[in-house]
C-alpha cells in the first residue's frame, strides 16, 4: 500500500496538466467553466488539438492511435482534462464506435474509419435506443433487410445525443426477425446523408436541443458497412456498453464545478457577503467535498483493479453516486442564486451575473444524468445482481 504516485506518474500528471491548460484554446475552456453550450466547432477543435498530440484516443490499440498507458494514467488523463475545463473527446467516437471497429471490424473498415474517427473528421452518432424500449435495449425493432449488396433499413431511433451534428451513425438493427431478442441483431454503420435518413431534434425541458429522433425510411446501406459478423451485434453492443461504464464518474468536472461554486459563494450572499459564513451552506459544501473525495478514491481503486480493460463491477457505484453528486452540485448552484436563478433568459442588459442565468437550465438538464447511459435503476440492478448475487 502506498499513497504517493510513482515518479513516472507524477511526471505524467504534470505533463497532462501542462497540456490541457496551455494547448486547448482558452476561449473554449472559459465556455466550459461558465457552463455555456459548446458549438460543434469548439468540440472538434478540442479533440483535434488532443489528437494532434496523440492523446485523443488512448484507449484504442496502439496501431490505431492508442497509447500503452496504464489504467491509472488513463484516469489521470481524464481527470486533468476535466479539472482544466476541457471537454473530453466525443464519446461516440472515442469510447464507443472506435473501440468496436478496432476490436471487431475488418481491416478495410478500420482503415476507412478509425483515423477520421479519432480526429473527429467524422462525427458519429449513436443509434441504439428506440421509442418504447427504455432500458430494455434488446427489444429494438429497426430492421435491416438484405437485398443484394445492400441492407434496406427501416425504423426509428431516439435519444440520439447531438445527432444534429452527426455525419455517420452506428446502429443496432434487427437482421434476423425470427431469432430471439438478443440474437438476430447486427451492428451497422450508416452515412447520415443517405436518402431516407431524417433527424428530428427533441427539445429538452431546459430548452436545449441535444437529443434527436432519427428516422430511417428505406435507407439503403452497403453491406460493407456491417461491423463484424451479421447477427453478432448484441455482443459488440455489450462490449461497447462495458467500455461506456469505464470512466463514467464525472469526478473531475464535478470537482471543478464545486470549486467554482465555492469561489462564487464568497460574494453571493445578500449585499455581496459570503454564503460560506452561513453554516448550512458551509456544511453542505464540506459534505459534498467529502463525498466527492470518496468517489474519486473509489474511482482510483476501480482503476487500480481493472486489469484487462474490462469494467470492474464497481463501475456501477461510480455511475450511480457520480451522477447523484453531479446533480447535487447543479442544485447547489441554483440554491446559491436564490431568486436570481429565475433569470435564465436575461440578456446583456441584465444586472444578474451570468452564472445565475445558466444555473437552473443546467440543473434541469442534468436530471438526465441519472437516466441516460444506463439509468441509476439499472446500476442498482447490476450491483444487486452481479456484485451481491441478489437475483429475483
Amino acid at each position: 500500500m502506498r499513497l504517493q504516485l510513482s515518479d513516472e506518474d507524477v511526471a505524467f500528471r504534470q505533463e497532462m496538466r501542462e497540456f490541457f491548460t496551455t494547448k486547448i484554446p482558452q476561449s473554449i475552456r472559459d465556455k466550459v467553466a461558465a457552463r455555456r453550450e459548446l458549438s460543434r466547432d469548439d468540440i472538434v477543435a478540442s479533440q483535434q488539438a488532443m489528437n494532434a498530440a496523440g492523446i485523443a484516443v488512448p484507449n484504442w490499440p496502439v496501431e490505431w492511435g492508442g497509447k500503452d498507458w496504464t489504467p491509472l494514467q488513463r484516469h489521470i488523463w481524464h481527470e486533468e482534462m476535466q479539472l482544466a475545463n476541457v471537454m473530453p473527446p466525443l464519446a461516440f467516437n472515442a469510447s464507443m464506435v472506435g473501440p468496436v471497429i478496432a476490436a471487431f471490424g475488418s481491416q478495410e473498415i478500420k482503415e476507412r474509419f478509425l483515423a477520421k474517427t479519432a480526429n473527429l473528421d467524422i462525427w458519429w452518432s449513436q443509434g441504439f435506443s428506440e421509442p418504447d424500449a427504455g432500458s430494455d435495449l434488446a427489444s429494438l425493432r429497426t430492421t435491416a433487410v438484405r437485398e443484394g449488396d445492400e441492407y434496406v433499413v427501416n425504423g426509428q431511433k431516439t435519444w440520439t445525443t447531438l445527432g444534429q451534428y452527426g455525419d455517420w451513425i452506428f446502429m443496432l438493427v434487427r437482421t434476423d426477425p425470427e431469432a430471439k431478442k438478443q440474437a438476430g441483431i447486427s451492428f451497422l454503420l450508416i452515412d447520415m446523408t443517405s436518402p431516407g435518413v431524417t433527424v428530428r431534434p427533441i427539445e429538452l425541458i431546459d430548452g436545449s436541443f441535444e437529443v434527436n429522433e432519427v428516422f430511417f425510411d428505406n435507407v439503403r446501406v452497403p453491406v460493407d458497412n456491417l461491423v463484424g459478423e451479421e447477427n453478432k451485434g448484441w455482443d459488440y453492443a455489450k462490449f461497447l456498453l462495458g467500455n461506456e461504464r469505464v470512466g463514467v464518474a464525472p469526478v473531475g468536472s464535478v470537482k471543478r464545478s464545486l470549486a467554482t461554486a465555492k469561489e462564487y459563494a464568497k460574494t453571493a450572499g445578500p449585499g455581496g457577503t459570503s454564503l460560506l459564513d452561513d453554516p448550512m451552506f458551509a456544511s453542505q459544501f464540506t459534505d459534498l467535498e467529502n463525498e466527492l473525495l470518496a468517489l474519486e478514491l473509489t474511482a482510483l481503486r476501480v482503476v487500480a483493479h481493472s486489469a484487462d480493460g474490462k469494467p470492474h463491477p464497481a463501475s456501477s457505484v461510480l455511475k450511480l453516486r457520480g451522477t447523484e453528486l453531479q446533480q447535487a452540485v447543479t442544485e447547489l448552484w441554483v440554491d446559491m442564486g436564490g431568486p436570481a436563478s429565475l433569470a435564465s433568459g436575461a440578456g446583456e442588459e441584465s444586472d444578474i451575473p451570468d452564472w445565475n442565468k445558466v444555473s437552473t437550465p443546467t440543473y434541469l438538464n442534468f436530471r438526465k444524468a441519472s437516466i441516460y447511459g444506463g439509468s441509476n435503476e439499472v446500476q442498482r440492478q447490476i450491483i444487486a445482481g452481479t456484485i451481491l448475487g441478489l437475483r429475483g
Binding site: S129, D132, A133, G134, S135, D136, S139, T158, W159, I202, E203, L204, I205, D206, G207, V211, A268, G269, P270, G271, G272, D278, M280, E331, V334, D335, G337, G338, P339, A340, S341, L342, A343, S344, G345, A346, G347, E349, S350, D351, I352, T360, P361, Y363, L364, R367, K368, S370, I371, Y372, S375, N376, E377, R380
Partner: protein
C-alpha cells in the same frame, strides 16, 4: 376545525378547473402560449376576471368579491394543476394584496377595481440583484419631489414586469421601506423583459429619477410587505400542491401503462414504492399548506405559517419534481411531454420568495419561543 370546502367553494373550484382545463388542455397548448409574449393568455385572464376569480380577496367596496384566503387558495391550486402561466399570485395576491393592505381608499378602488375586472395587471417590483431573498429594499431609493417622489435604482428579476400595467416598487425611505406606484411609461424607467426557464416572464426594471406616487402614506410599510409576502408564499404553496398532484398523477399513470421487458412498470416494486413516497410527501405538504391558509383565515401568525408551508413545499416539490422525471425515464426529459414542465415550475416557485433553506433558517430563529407547535389555537 374543518378541512373541507363548502358547496360554494367546491363550485368555485369546479368552475376554475373547467376554465383552465379548457385553456390548457395539453402541453402543446401551454407551450404555444408561453412561447409568445406576454407568456400567458389574455383571454384566459379575462375569463378569470369574468368569473370573479381576480377580485376574490378584495372588499366589495373596492370592486372585489369579499372572499378570503381559502377562495384564493382554490384558484392558486387549480392554476398549479395545469401550471397555467397567468400571473395570478403575482398580480392578485402580491400586488393586489399590497394595495389592499396599505392603499388609500381611492387607490384601492381604482387599482383593485381594474384588477378585478381584468383590465389592469399590477406587479410587485421588489427583488434586487445580489440581495437574494431580502425583504427590505437597498438598491432603490425614494426621494421626495414636490407632492410626489422619484425613485432611482434597479429591480430584478421582477416577475411579469415587462407586461405589467402598473409597478408597485419597494424602495428605501428614511423610516424604512416604502411602497410606490410607478407607471411603466414613466420617465427614466427602462424595462427589459425576458423569459424564465419554466415559460414565465421576468424583467429588469431600471429607475432613474423616475416619478412615483406613494402607495399609502409614504412611510415604512415593512410590516405590510412582510404580511402580504407571507400570503403570497402560502398561495404559491397551493400552486405547488396543484403541480405536485398532477406530477404524481402523470407518474402513476405512466407506471401503469408503460411496459418494459414485457410487463408494466408498475410491476417493479422499486418504482411503485418510490411513487408511494411521493404521495407521502404530497400529503404532508398538503396538510401544512392548507393549515397555513386556515391560519390566515383565523388571523394567526402569517409569517410563521408561511415559512412552515414554504419549507414543507420546498422539500416535497424537489422530491416529487425529481422523482417524477426519474420514474418516467427519458421521456420525462423532453419538452414535448408534460411532466418536466411541472418540475420546472416547482423549481421556479421554490426560488420565489424564499426556498426551504431560507425559511428553515427563519424558523430556527424562533425555535426557543415555544415548547412545541400547537397547530390548533
Amino acid at each position: 376545525m374543518d378541512f373541507t370546502l363548502d358547496a360554494e367553494q367546491v363550485a368555485l373550484r369546479d368552475a376554475v378547473r373547467g376554465l383552465l382545463g379548457k385553456s390548457y388542455d395539453s402541453t402543446e397548448t401551454r407551450r404555444a402560449v408561453t412561447k409568445q409574449d406576454p407568456g400567458w393568455d389574455e383571454k384566459t385572464w379575462s375569463q378569470l376576471a369574468e368569473m370573479g376569480a381576480l377580485g376574490l380577496p378584495f372588499a366589495e367596496a373596492d370592486g372585489g368579491m369579499g372572499a378570503g384566503p381559502v377562495e384564493v387558495s382554490i384558484v392558486a391550486e387549480e392554476i398549479g394543476r395545469v401550471i397555467a402561466p397567468e400571473p395570478y399570485v403575482e398580480a392578485v395576491v402580491l400586488a393586489g394584496g399590497l394595495v389592499a393592505a396599505v392603499g388609500s381608499d381611492e387607490q384601492r378602488a381604482e387599482i383593485l377595481g381594474a384588477l378585478s375586472e381584468g383590465t389592469l395587471v399590477p406587479v410587485f417590483a421588489h427583488n434586487e440583484p445580489g440581495q437574494r431573498y431580502s425583504e427590505s429594499a437597498a438598491g432603490v431609493t425614494a426621494t421626495r419631489s414636490g407632492d410626489g417622489w422619484t425613485l432611482t435604482g434597479v429591480k430584478e428579476p421582477v416577475i411579469g414586469g415587462a407586461r405589467a400595467d402598473l409597478l408597485i416598487v419597494s424602495a428605501a425611505v428614511d423610516s424604512g421601506v416604502g411602497l410606490f406606484l410607478v407607471q411603466p411609461d414613466a420617465s427614466g424607467l427602462t424595462r427589459d423583459g425576458y423569459a424564465t426557464f419554466e415559460g414565465g416572464r421576468a424583467a429588469r426594471i431600471g429607475l432613474a429619477d423616475t416619478p412615483a406616487i406613494a402607495l399609502g402614506d409614504g412611510g415604512d410599510q415593512s410590516a405590510a410587505i412582510a404580511t402580504v409576502i407571507a400570503e403570497a408564499q402560502i398561495a404559491y404553496g397551493h400552486e405547488s400542491l396543484g403541480a405536485m398532484q398532477t406530477a404524481l398523477e402523470l407518474t402513476t399513470e405512466y407506471l401503469k401503462t408503460r411496459k418494459q421487458f414485457g410487463v408494466p412498470l408498475a410491476t417493479f416494486q422499486a418504482l411503485t414504492f418510490r411513487a408511494a413516497d411521493m404521495y407521502v410527501e404530497l400529503e404532508l405538504a398538503r396538510s401544512t399548506v392548507t393549515w397555513a391558509t386556515l391560519v390566515l383565515l383565523d388571523g394567526g401568525d402569517a409569517l410563521e405559517a408561511a415559512s412552515r408551508a414554504k419549507l414543507q413545499v420546498s422539500k416535497a416539490g424537489r422530491h416529487i419534481g425529481k422523482e417524477a422525471i426519474q420514474l418516467h425515464g427519458g421521456i420525462g426529459m423532453t419538452a414535448e411531454y408534460s411532466v418536466g414542465h411541472f418540475t420546472s415550475r416547482l423549481t421556479a416557485i421554490d426560488h420565489t420568495l424564499g426556498d426551504g433553506r431560507h425559511h428553515l433558517a427563519r424558523l430556527a430563529e424562533t425555535l426557543e419561543d415555544h415548547e412545541f407547535i400547537e397547530p390548533l389555537p
